[in-house]
């Protein structure tokens, strides 16, 4: 057993024997093969456990948010982990006035109705770009961090690429009425909302699927990606039936809104993975389709799949099956409600013992860097967010920007890339030094931002202080030595206020500390 139901609150994060043994095993793999010939596919990221700041508060903050801040650490210590988590799981209890006002001010059209967008936008992509920027703002600066993490999770699970030419009038509404509305609600409602949204109907071609000429794109992906998964127990005939069940689901070319077209709906008995409907009348086809979607949401394979994906998000790239099973059971017991599943996950021993087992993907690095450097959104207009948007696109991880319909990979291996690593180093330097796009953002004075009130007496103490400020711990000895060598000093070298390390080289010192795995691991 690796999970408990945690009725007594979050399990302690004391290093268990099991965890220690595992870490030791990892060490021997590292030693045996090194990087060039590493047993990479057998290696859990657990090796990172010794590189990040210890303690359950910071572990929870690294996983449940887009990056800890000094303020968040104070909050969680003041409230306790249980209350902090409860509030995050009930986001209306968290004041988010700044972010809401900022988004409403800079991106006022995001609440435009479908109909009005369809009538007025004339194919413009402006609203999709606005959504992309607003998403970056919310992920980096909302106080409702866990909610935004879940929005990101579901945006990938039910991915509709933003921007996409077929969704210019509908993508923002999909975000609002499908993803954000149900992000901490019930999956059955979210899946139903997606199946009745013009963005999904256009993106996966269901709007063109008719009884005479079925288009299998959506009929396949609702099984493979949105619900039971490719190994969920269906075959090609099930997939064809799935497509037929959903014929008629489309949108209106008059209003841009969802529309069920009975003339396009296939009638006759339909069977998908044991689900059956007589499906006799075309005017009742919408109800048949929605019953099918509801069946999929409650399917045990869907429960298992969502549970596993949540584990990839929050626990480990190789989560214990017992935790996946426990979460799937919770999902089904609660009629697909997500909050009980997350409560169970964050209160499991498997979560507690997963310290260091996840790495930050590129956008998570951008957001965590912005947050830890106390950089705030563009105080004048939107240029700063626009710059972040293009920068993040260059990092291959633009929020909602994944082109295939399966969403960004959520494990570390697929992101293993020299080019991405180099781009991330450049991003750290750019944000720390206030270069583009930081020159359009609100960047605090770096000395005041990262140095302690009293200047440390030695360079060694300086590196320790800046590391504590940025990664909440001093660096491992070898890394500290490398940073000191970079500064060309010894640990005991006295520090004066005129020294380069606290002058022109300070942004580079900050960037180098953000380049360490103590920041790269979440």
């Amino acid at each position: 057993m690796t999970t408990d139901d945690g009725g007594a609150g979050l399990a302690t994060a004391a290093v268990s024997r099991r965890n220690f043994v595992r870490a030791a095993a990892v060490g021997s793999v590292l030693a045996g093969s090194g990087v060039a010939a590493g047993m990479f596919d057998a290696l859990p990221a657990g090796a990172g456990g010794s590189l990040v700041a210890t303690g359950p508060d910071l572990h929870l903050l690294r996983r449940a948010t887009f990056g800890p801040t000094e303020e968040l650490v104070k909050d969680i210590r003041r409230l306790g982990r249980n209350r902090w988590l409860d509030r995050q799981l009930h986001p209306s209890s968290v004041n988010d006035g700044f972010c809401q006002d900022y988004v409403a001010d800079r991106y006022p059209d995001l609440d435009m109705t479908l109909k009005r967008a369809f009538e007025t936008l004339e194919g413009s992509w402006d609203l999709m770009y606005a959504l992309g920027q607003a998403t970056i703002v919310r992920e980096a600066w909302s106080n409702r961090q866990l909610f935004e993490v879940m929005v990101d999770f579901w945006s990938n699970h039910l991915n509709i690429t933003n921007p996409h030419e077929a969704c210019w009038w509908s993508r923002h509404d999909y975000d609002r009425t499908v993803i954000r509305k149900h992000a901490l609600g019930k999956f059955k409602d979210m899946l139903r909302a997606s199946a009745t949204h013009p963005a999904m109907m256009a993106y996966l071609n269901n709007a063109e699927s008719t009884k005479d000429n079925p288009n299998e794109n959506y009929g396949r992906e609702i099984l493979e990606l949105h619900s039971v998964g490719v190994d969920g127990g269906y075959d090609e005939e099930d997939m064809r039936q799935s497509t037929l069940v959903l014929t008629g689901f489309g949108f209106s070319w008059d209003t841009g809104e969802f529309e069920y077209r009975d003339w396009a709906h296939y009638t006759g008995p339909v069977d998908v993975m044991g689900w059956h409907a007589a499906n006799k009348n075309e005017d009742k086809g919408k109800d048949v389709g929605l019953a099918y979607v509801n069946y999929l949401a409650h399917h045990p394979s869907t429960a298992e799949r969502i549970a596993r994906k949540l584990c990839y998000r929050f626990v480990s790239d190789d989560p214990p099956q017992s935790l996946v099973d426990a979460l799937a059971e919770t999902y089904l017991d609660h009629d697909t409600a997500i909050v009980p599943v997350l409560e169970k996950l964050f209160r499991s021993k498997a979560f507690d013992s997963s310290v260091g087992e996840k790495v930050r993907r590129p956008f998570e690095d951008v957001a965590a860097t912005l947050r830890i450097l106390n950089i705030r959104p563009d105080p004048e207009g939107v240029d700063g967010q626009q710059g972040l948007y293009w920068m993040t696109e260059g990092l291959g991880h633009l929020p909602m920007g994944w082109v295939p319909p399966d969403g960004y990979p959520d494990t570390g291996d697929p992101w293993r890339s020299a080019g991405l690593t180099l781009s991330r180093w450049n991003m750290h330097v750019g944000l720390a030094a206030g270069w583009w796009p930081a020159n359009h953002l609100k960047v605090p004075n770096i000395q005041k931002n990262v140095l302690p009130a009293t200047l440390p007496k030695t360079h060694g103490a300086l590196v320790d202080a800046v590391a504590k400020r940025l990664v909440f711990r001093t660096l491992p000895a070898a890394h500290r030595d490398a940073v000191l060598a970079f500064l060309g000093v010894a640990a005991a070298t006295p520090l004066d206020e005129d020294d380069a390390a606290v002058g022109w080289r300070l942004p580079y010192l900050v960037a180098l500390i953000l380049d360490t795995p103590s920041h790269g691991i979440r």
Binding site: L30, V35, A37, E224, L395, A418, S423, A511, D515
Partner: protein
Amino acid sequence: MPQERITTLDVTPLAQPCGCPAQPEISRRSFLKAAGATGIVAGLASEGMFTRLAFGATPYVGDVLVVLSLRGGMDSLQAVVPAAAAQYNHYVTHRPNIAVPQNQLLPLDANFGMHPAMAPLRPFYDAGSLGIVNAVGMAQPNRSHFSAMEEMERAAPGTSVRTGWLDRVLGLRETGSPFQATQLGSNSAASAFLGPAPELAMWNIDGFDLSGAWDAEQEALWDAALRGVHDGAPPVIAAPALTALDALTTASQLREAGYTPANGAAYPDSNLGNALRDVAQLIKADVGLHVAAVDYGDWDMHAGQGDVAGGWMVDHLGEFSSALAAFATDLGNAMGDVTLITLTEFGRRVEENGSGGTDHGFGQAVFLMGDGVNGGQIHGTWPGLAPQNLVDGDLDATTDYRNLLASVLERRCGASAGDVAGIFPGIDNVRPDVVQQRAS
């Protein structure tokens, strides 16, 4: 020893002094790199390490392998069209709206014609450096993009092997240049590279640059510092970091040297054109490239693929053809040491759908380019488009793509039959005659 070649550019030294215990018998660069990364020299029991050392003793002699992945499922029935009477009739019956008219096809042989948008490739076919294999696929149809791509690039059906096939190819050779295995046009490497052998993924050579390292002194400081702070980091973080550092100096030399394509080659101004131009530059600069991977996506034409007069398919085939033609033109005689192969996760349904597009299918056509290709001909057994010949409405696959790759690896890339059996577990002995045996 690492491959010794006459190089026009120095490859960045891979190893930093690491203060490790001396291990003279294994003091190869690949090992130093590994040791430098972890700071630990112990327990060489890893199979991967032994494999690498054992096979690494022989320098690589073989073609640069360029793998061009046509992601999304290319509708190759529009590219290479059955032109003879009976088969063409089946084709046009299934595809009344999108079929290429018979009289507009560029004849390839008695039975097939090429889409007219592919005209730039015609001279290479005629000259024998472009070959086509019809009806290629995996052993089992897989009509899911994601699982088909994964399965195709894992290339080990029925096993629990988790690495990609290109990683296993690279595992046979000693780690040499950081450019040994390079993905161009993307910051993310294809899943065929998944596994312990390091690979480099970059958008382009021009952009591969470290901010803040404005001169050689700063470069050296950053290099040492970044190596130092990755000491003991999990490989998922450390491996790409070290590969990036190894490649930085070479990339900056390439940038300074600049690049003008030869023989009047005109690459399309597109991601594909830029990526292939960078591959050509790396080949000519002789930086130790063994395997290059490039993606060309957006082939998932469920709707509105257009007809012969224009549209999505015409644009895509046109860009594909002009980019490949420019690549071969630019490299000229160097194509004697290059084999390019295209793969797509599946072909498309024979029958068009109601949206002027096609749904996911099975058998695909594969294109091979290079002077070692048995070109100017169509390989593969054509299964036919008559209803009884289709598999769930799809063109059948009569050639397993792994056998094609095996032919290329054995005849062009220095792999033995035993190597190939390790790369493709369970593979049979069929070796389609698509390439010639390399001279040396």
